[in-house]
Amino acid sequence: MIVLVGLNHKTAPLSVREKLFAGCQGESNLLGDLRAIDGVLEIMYLSTCNRVELVAAVEDAPQALNALKYFLAGQGGLTNEEAAVCLYGYQDAEAIRHMFRVTSSLDSQVMGEAQILGQVKDAYRQALEKNATGIALNRLMHRAFRTAKRVRTETGIAANPVSVSFAAVELAKKIFGTLAGKKVLLIGAGEMAELTGQHLIGNGAEEITVANRSLSQAASLAEKFHGKAIGLAVLDEALCNVDIVISSTGAPSHIVTQEMIRQCLRKRKNRLLFLIDIAVPRDIDPAVDSIENVYLYNIDNLQDIVDENMKNRRCEALKAEQIVAEEVTQYSNWLKELGAVPTIVSLRNKAEAIVRMEMIKAQSWMSKLENGDREKVDVLVKGIVNKLLHAPVAVMKEESAELNSQDIVAVVRQLFRLDE
């Protein structure tokens, strides 16, 4: 049986997550301690800034759930109240579903983010190194990775940016194709402009110029980007040479006017110009947008795109849930079949033992047979035994996939006296 115990950003405040995170990080042999818990057969431990979770294959689910919750609460020094509110526990299909949703980034704070898959893979690798996983968890994790891949490729959950700065980068790519070699002008040394600038550089933009009222502030930001700093007085000139402008000053009126852009059009040879105005009140005159080959986006325009993308992600998440449901059913069936495997093995062993015994008994008269005939009898007997066993084995597999394997297993064990 699979169980999952843990807490995440939805159930626990940061202070509780911190405590548990620190408690678990401090423990050097965490997986060893967890495996020592009674009834725990296989275990894996996942810890990210948003969640701490334990997933385990166990003998008795309710008992293991309690033991694991108790362990986590103890590790993080959580009060009884905190543990009751923050910790959740799932078993069987619910636990499998949760694991698949986490890996596919459906349970993440920013739905569709790519980081979580890598974190789960790391956690699994650690568990593998410590030999803490076995057949059930190995298969579970491979299925989880497969589900994540399917969600990523079959739905558009991770397709569109959901942050303002990434949306700006995406737009820049729609205008310029590639950002390689593009020149960026930051007007104002605000945090948001810096972040967007960083993303643009990360995507290949090369020259960064920082223009600011205070030249020293401009210089310190320019230093970060290995760019150059200029004063606002020479802004007109700078506008003639750049491709992307990000403005975020606290100025009360427009810093870039329609006239300024018009005047530098000839010098720019009508090259495309992308202006991003993230300041409130606005730095760039909205009339600039009416100029040919100039594209102006303000903070609301960008936010609208982000909202639209977020809405799309939520729609795509419905498709993703469908994929998760399919995968959960497949894995659950396999897991249930797994319950019948030891009985199937015993049944085959018993049959083989009987055949061996009877063959030994029949040796006296079989020795009179000609060489080839003895093998034929051997094949015949084995054929009959296999045919007889085929139906019970098939029924056991089917029944245990659909229902609980325990009942049919008990019947078969009694019928064939496998426990004697």
């Binding site: 569109n160 729609k174 310029f176 194709g177 000839r266 495309l272 947008d289 080959n293 986006y297 795109i305």
Partner: protein, 274 residues
């Protein structure tokens, strides 16, 4: 009895039809993967068409004896070839949604023509006529490409200006790429068309003894050539770029199509090959 050449031609036609359907579907369901597959299908169609044309050239012992079907096929072949060649350079798969229908139209028109009907009356055949035709076709094909890129530019520009890039905007190529294709189309198309027209005029001067044929097609073509020349001048000397160039290319292309249709159905011309 259906000839091998005909089978290859039909295969090319079928590939092109599938590619066109794929491109248009890709545009409507907004999935780029379909456009990628369609590009491969178009490439296969292009190979079949190349085989077909090569076979015809060998069979008819020279390019001069090409029939009307092959004449139209060369149009389709040139547009497809230029478009596919461009795919190595830029990621503009969806441009196919605008180009492939043209290729398909040319092929369908070609299918309706006899392969044995001589394109050029026997008394006019010669290397000068051939080069006149091939250069003019290549030039016009490049204008088709430039205008298709211009049309896409206008759509993408409108989406970005209205702050609604959405799914379609994400699917369409970037403005820079489209502008570059428009530029290349004009830059290469204009000199080719110019050479083609000089070839025609030289032929007329040598054979008919008159440089200027007073043919309706010639007059229209010259008008279109002048406008394209004007566009190229504006682009290179004045620095027209982006939306202005795109909208002008589309307008001139519409004029070009109109002239072709009007001449075909309303006037008599020595260029009545189709």
């Amino acid at each position: 009895m259906i000839s091998v050449g005909m089978i290859i031609f039909v295969l090319a036609l079928v590939c092109c039809a599938f590619a066109t359907a794929g491109y248009l579907l890709s545009l409507s369901v907004k999935k780029i993967g379909l456009a990628k597959v369609s590009t491969w299908i178009l490439a296969i169609g292009f190979l079949f068409l190349s085989l077909n044309l090569l076979g015809a050239a060998i069979q008819s012992a020279g390019w001069d004896n090409f029939g009307s079907r092959h004449f139209l096929s060369i149009y389709a072949w040139a547009i497809a070839g230029i478009y596919l060649g461009l795919q190595f350079k830029t990621k503009t798969r969806l441009l196919g949604a605008f180009i492939a229908p043209f290729i398909l139209l040319f092929l369908i028109a070609a299918a309706g023509q006899g392969a044995d009907k001589n394109l050029v009356p026997p008394q006019w055949q010669g290397w000068l006529t051939t080069s006149h035709l091939v250069l003019a076709i290549a030039g016009e094909s490049l204008f088709v490409l430039a205008s298709a890129a211009g049309a896409m530019f206008m759509i993408q520009n409108s989406l970005l200006k209205h702050k609604k890039p959405g799914k379609l905007g994400r699917l369409l190529p970037s403005l820079s790429d489209l502008d570059r294709i428009n530029h290349l189309g004009l830059l290469w198309g204009f000199p080719l068309l110019t050479l083609g027209m000089i070839g025609g005029a030289a032929y007329a001067a040598f054979v008919w003894g008159n440089l200027w044929a007073y043919d309706s097609k010639v007059i229209w073509s010259l008008a279109v050539w002048v406008i394209y020349g004007f566009l190229l001048h504006q682009r290179l000397a004045i620095g027209w770029k982006g939306i202005r160039m795109a909208s002008w290319s589309c307008a001139v292309f519409a004029l070009f199509l109109l002239s072709a249709l009007v001449i075909r159905f309303c006037f008599s011309t020595v260029h009545n090959f189709i």
